[in-house]
Subunit: 129 residues, 2 copies
C-alpha cells in the first residue's frame, strides 16, 4: 500500500538532436501527459545555452520532470503519480518510444508507504496559485 | 561519478497545519532554494481542495518537488541537483528543520552514472521559455 509510484529513469545513448531543443522536449512531455491520461496543472520548460533542456510538469497526480544533456545523449526522467500505476507506466512507455534511448536504467519506487493509493487529489481548484 | 544527486524523501508525522496552506509551503520551498544556494528558474504552487499542496521548482541544477497530504501528515519531497552534493543536503536539512516530521524515510540516488558531476548547467538564458 502506497500513495503513489515514482519511476526514476536515466535514458542513455539518446540522439542529441531529439533532446537539444525546448520545443521538441515540450512535445514529448505534453504528449506523455496525454498518453497517461494525467491531469496537467502547469508546465515549464527551459532552454539552456549552449545546450540542454529542462522541463517540469505539475499534475494533479504529482509531477513529471525531464532534464537533458545532449552532449552525453543523457536524459534524467521522473514520473511520480498517485492513482493507477498504469498511468505512470503508459506515460513512461510513450517517452521511451519518442526518445529511443540505447539503454534505459530505471527504478520504480513506492512513495508514501502505508498510505492508500486511492488518496490521489481529484479535486482541482480552477484558479491555480 | 554521476551527473547529480537525487534525494528522495517521505516525511511522516508532520503537523497538518504546517503543510495545509500553499503560502506556508511556498515559504519552505523558496527558503530551501536559498539555503542551498541553488539557482531558481521558475516555481509553481498549487492549493488542492479540500486540502493538500503541491510545489515544484525548476532550478538550473535540476528541480525540487514537494507534495503534501495533511490528512496523513505526509510530505513526499524530491531534491535533484547537479553540482556539489552539499547543496542538495543543505536544502534538505532546511526543509526537515521547518517541517519537523516525526520520521524521515529517504534515499540518495546518483543520477546519470558514468557522467561527470561538473557538467551542471551554469549558463542560464535570461529569457525563460
Amino acid at each position: 500500500m502506497s500513495i503513489g509510484i515514482h519511476i526514476i529513469a536515466d535514458l542513455k545513448g539518446v540522439e542529441s538532436g531529439k533532446i537539444s531543443n525546448v520545443e521538441e522536449v515540450r512535445k514529448i512531455m505534453e504528449g506523455a501527459v496525454k498518453a497517461g491520461d494525467l491531469t496537467k496543472i502547469r508546465s515549464h520548460y527551459h532552454q539552456f545555452t549552449p545546450e540542454g533542456v529542462s522541463g517540469i510538469i505539475l499534475i494533479a497526480e504529482s509531477h513529471l520532470s525531464f532534464h537533458t544533456w545532449p552532449e552525453y545523449g543523457l536524459v534524467t526522467l521522473d514520473i511520480f503519480t498517485c492513482g493507477p500505476t498504469e498511468k505512470a507506466e503508459t506515460a513512461f512507455e510513450y517517452i521511451i518510444d519518442k526518445v529511443s534511448p540505447q539503454t534505459v536504467e530505471y527504478k520504480e519506487i513506492e512513495r508514501g508507504m502505508e498510505y492508500p493509493r486511492g488518496s490521489q487529489k481529484k479535486e482541482l481548484e480552477i484558479g491555480a496559485v
